[in-house]
Symmetry: C2
């Protein structure tokens, strides 16, 4: 554990300590990976972590991501038809826009105008706790390569 010259981009150690989680290389590396590439899946995180800690197992990444999510350090999103993705932005209620061709994800701050931004017209007796919005579209990269465009789900 290095730790003296800390103050990395998101201060992984402070995040972990603050959540009462042990500071381990894997966790620090996962947080760093998510900080660099938000909306990463397990595979992407594993690849990034493996450049620093080659012995890391996929299961370890699953464990760490689950731990971080439970601790409120990370957030998991799961666009339909894709494996779960993780990001460090938590606590602010932001949404996502997903590319229907390549699966790229970008953040969307909030729906225009309204602060609570969403209230269902009928709650059907449910106790409402959260509104999740996913926008679907085509990212600029995919728009550019209009012609070929992967063959999956236009």
């Amino acid at each position: 554990m290095v730790a003296m010259e800390t103050t990395a981009t998101t201060e992984p150690i402070a995040l972990l300590r603050g959540a009462g989680l042990r500071v381990t290389d894997s966790r620090v590396a996962v947080i760093a990976a998510l900080d660099e590439r938000p909306h990463s899946g397990v595979d992407t995180v594993l690849t990034a972590v493996a450049t620093v800690l080659p012995s890391t197992s996929r299961q370890a990444v699953h464990n760490v991501l689950n731990d971080l999510t439970e601790a409120g350090i990370a957030r998991r999103i799961e666009p339909a038809g894709q494996p779960g993705l993780y990001e460090l932005r938590v606590g602010d209620n932001h949404h996502h826009i997903v590319c229907q061709r390549c699966g790229a994800v970008a953040d969307v701050d909030c729906v225009t105008g309204h602060a609570p931004c969403l209230t269902p017209s009928t709650t059907s007796g449910f106790d409402l706790s959260e509104a999740e919005v996913t926008f679907w579209g085509v990212c600029s990269a995919c728009k550019a390569s209009q012609a070929d465009a992967g063959e999956t789900t236009p």
Copy 2:
């Protein structure tokens, strides 16, 4: 093929013919099942269909549901952490509210007030095509049995 006393609730045969799909027992049964229990998963549909056509395979249900979805007769939704669910309401842009305990799903007609109901504040260069809203909460049944909280996925 029974079919004489048709005119069921959603006229499955007309739906299939209109979409250029062949009318088969399985398809009619699947449509009937979805009509009775919207937001059903493959298993639920299979159970319902099997009471009428006991030889039906799970694969057949997958095939039929995929066909119906492609034909625009059914719509697939996929709340995070749950297998895909299907419903016959298509074409109207409605949303869903999902119970965080038991997974129950109810329809929500639209977000209050606004007609286009959703526009992202920033599109990050995406061509927007659709907005999907999922509300999360606790259904009345789960509220009632607060203590134990069921585990069954209805």
